[in-house]
């Protein structure tokens, strides 16, 4: 775990956050006995979790523990993977996301996602942000909407003079912020971030982290990260996933879920403690 900006011990980072504002408990996702499998093998099993409004929830754990699988269940992105199967329930504001008759397109429109690798469309910077609103019929005041999204993603000042330039001309960190702008331009309720900074340098990473703190006021954020420092810095709540090895089968399970400070300073599970103190993974 050498990534991150400072090498301050995780515990200190987390303790510094301990006195941060108290966590509101307004449930957005109520996840009950979630099991997701590709083919016959379950990738995660029996996950129970509540995710709260206007809070940053981090999902951490060793690689292969199903963090990405988990977050992709939340906006039905796994529907696109052939052979993927979901059991259990995910209630989003009380409604079952996987109930029959629920349109995954509508789900994804409300629950936005930012991916590990920045994936701007091969279009202009402006069109990248404007494409979603256009498709969804939010054509009114499109310019203002684009500006607002770019400001929201802390990118406006850097690109306002070259909105017509191809998005692929931006740097990696800028591309990732553009993807965040693209996601918030359609005004989702939730933003899922799947290791959004794993391919970025420390400066770009810190820009994204500051941005997340800003976004928290308007959105509910769930971030997958393999970087404990990052989770300790940005998250209010942290879920620790681990691998259960059983008869040669490796399945991701939720080990512990609590306020970030508690997870990093006083975990109640031995496996969490081993992981956050660096004795594992």
């Amino acid at each position: 775990m050498t990534e991150g900006i400072t090498m301050t011990p995780v515990i200190e980072v987390a303790q510094a956050r301990k006195d941060a504002e108290p966590v509101q408990r307004d449930i957005v996702f109520d996840i009950q006995k979630l099991t997701a499998s590709y083919g016959k093998e379950p990738a995660i099993s029996d996950v129970d979790l509540e995710i709260y409004r206007n809070v940053i929830t981090a999902v951490i754990g060793p690689s292969g523990c199903g963090k990405s699988t988990f977050i992709r269940c939340l906006n039905r992105m796994n529907d696109l993977v052939p052979g993927a199967k979901i059991d259990g329930k995910i209630l989003y504001q009380g409604d079952d996301l996987y109930a029959s008759g629920v349109d995954p397109v509508e789900v994804r429109r409300r629950i936005g996602m930012v991916f590990q690798k920045a994936n701007p469309f091969p279009k202009s910077i402006y069109d990248n942000v404007a494409w979603g609103p256009r498709v969804l019929g939010m054509r009114k005041d499109l310019d203002e909407r684009v500006e607002k999204a770019l400001r929201g993603a802390a990118l406006w000042d850097e690109v306002k003079d070259r909105l017509k330039k191809n998005a692929l001309s931006l740097s990696g960190g800028q591309q990732q912020r553009l993807c965040i702008a693209r996601a918030i331009a359609v005004e989702p309720d939730v933003l899922l971030l799947d290791e959004p900074a794993s391919a970025l340098d420390p400066i770009a990473t810190s820009a994204i982290e500051e941005l997340m703190d800003e976004l928290k006021r308007d959105y509910t954020l769930v971030i997958v990260t393999h970087n404990m420092q990052q989770a300790a810095r940005v998250a209010d709540m942290t879920a620790f996933f681990s691998l259960d090895v059983d008869e040669g089968r490796r399945t991701g399970v939720l080990v512990e879920y609590d306020e970030t400070a508690k997870i990093f300073t006083n975990p109640s599970d031995k496996r969490t403690e081993d992981y956050v103190t660096g004795r594992f993974g």
Binding site: D103, V105, E106, G137
Partner: protein, 282 residues
């Protein structure tokens, strides 16, 4: 809400359109195959394969002369196209400097895209005007069509050969030519074979290059390659232009034989390719 419903309907419609398009393509294939099989099967029998074409206006007869001729033409074309195609591919992947690789690549692509009738009339101008039609001229025209196919297929498989294999051999102090002939080409044999089978399938059914080079031929089995060789494609072509229903039936039967050969060869090549790819890439 209304807008979302419209979006969903548009999406469904487009998905349906794409699915129907694929069904149409398969239906056309099925219709062609079935109508050829249905009309051609009746005339197929022992005699059809063993007897040569009947004299004009007489009933019966088969396609023995055309079968022999087509086999000869394709074998000769192979003998011409295979070495040149494979060696060109070896040059492009192993030796060529960029300056030469680009124009040669362009030329091969151009050759692959030339209208076959143009190739036919070129060989006509080169070898037939002033002489006569001949099996050699026909085979040469077919070879020009096979050449880019063989070269491309070989090139593709040569590029698949892992560079570690190349380096391993060169690191042992083995000379480049030994590396190419002893290591690289042998590990690409499967791919080259696939390309050859596809090229043969293509050449066996080509008519345009033969019209001007090997189309005026005898009704008997002919093995003298300095004379025009009877062949299946031209036989189908000329029969199809005749009003006589008996000849149509023969044309259907010959078409069935040709199509069966081409389709089986294509499928075999595909299977072969999958196997040799697995061997190389793992």
């Amino acid at each position: 809400m209304n807008r979302d419903r419209r979006r969903r309907i548009v999406n469904r419609t487009m998905e349906a359109v794409a699915t129907v398009a694929a069904i149409v393509a398969i239906a056309v294939l099925a219709i062609v195959v079935i109508s050829v099989a249905k009309r051609g099967a009746g005339a197929i029998g022992w005699d059809f394969f063993t007897k040569p074409q009947a004299l004009f206006g007489q009933p019966g007869g088969g396609i023995a002369n055309a079968l022999v001729g087509t086999a000869l033409l394709v074998v000769m074309a192979c003998a011409m196209a295979l070495p040149v195609g494979v060696l060109t591919a070896v040059y492009l992947t192993e030796f060529a400097p960029r300056r030469l690789a680009v124009p040669i690549q362009v030329v091969i692509d151009v050759l692959a895209g030339l209208p076959t009738i143009v190739i036919g009339i070129f060989v006509y101008a080169l070898l037939v005007i002033g002489h006569t039609q001949s099996g050699i001229a026909g085979a040469f025209a077919l070879a020009i069509i096979m050449l880019p196919l063989v070269a491309r297929a070989t090139q593709e498989v040569l590029l698949l050969v892992p560079s570690t294999l190349r380096e391993a051999s060169l690191a042992l102090g083995v000379r480049r030519w030994r590396t190419v002939l002893g290591v690289i080409l042998p590990s690409s044999v499967g791919g080259i074979l696939t390309g050859t089978v596809l090229a043969v399938a293509r050449a066996a059914g080509e008519t345009a290059p033969l019209l001007f080079t090997s189309s005026i031929f005898a009704n008997s089995v002919q093995t003298d390659v300095t004379k025009a060789l009877p062949n299946i494609p031209v036989l189908i072509f000329t029969y199809s232009e005749q009003p006589d229903p008996a000849l149509h039936e023969q044309a259907w039967a010959a078409a069935l034989v040709l199509m069966a050969f081409v389709l089986v060869a294509s499928l075999a090549a595909k299977a072969l390719l999958a196997r040799s790819r697995r061997k190389l890439v793992g």
